[in-house]
Symmetry: C2
């Protein structure tokens, strides 16, 4: 299934900027960055729970925001992209 | 249906900052800002096409990125929020 992860991390402090790097690094390890703070992750149920817990442990719940959108398995026709930064479909084979 | 709108606008120039303001203002008029550049919009099919065309006309296709995720009508269980900035469900009555 495809899970969309979006986040807002408060970067007014050094700790905030560190949290942002950690959140981004964790998302990069699990999916495709499609915009600055928007990632598309191809995950099964267990991986989704693990990622959600991991990211939740990295943020400051008072200052930062994480949102997860489960797009299911049939997501291709649910997504429209306009403009720069075209992306690949994480569900399709990547031919190099 | 609920449509998620996410955008990245290149703000290195004055025109870019103007485009950002215009895109944000258009999204605010159509839905709920849930994160800096993430909006949840409750739309029908016609409204969705109109919003997509409107936003596409505001951005610079070479520098900016727009993404639309159609979450359908049964979206409540597809969305998980962790941390700051709780939101309301645009599909539910708002009791003031």
């Amino acid at each position: 299934m495809l899970v969309l992860v979006t986040y807002d991390v408060n970067t007014k402090t050094t700790q905030g900027r560190k949290r942002l790097r950690q959140v981004a690094r964790c998302c990069v390890a699990h999916g495709q960055r499609v915009q600055n703070s928007v990632f598309e992750c191809s995950l099964d149920e267990v991986q989704y729970v693990i990622l959600r817990d991991r990211l939740s442990s990295l943020i400051d719940g008072e200052k930062d925001s994480l949102r997860f959108y489960n797009l299911g398995n049939h997501y291709q026709r649910k997504i429209v992209h306009v403009g720069a930064k075209p992306t690949y479909d994480p569900g399709e084979p990547l031919i190099l």
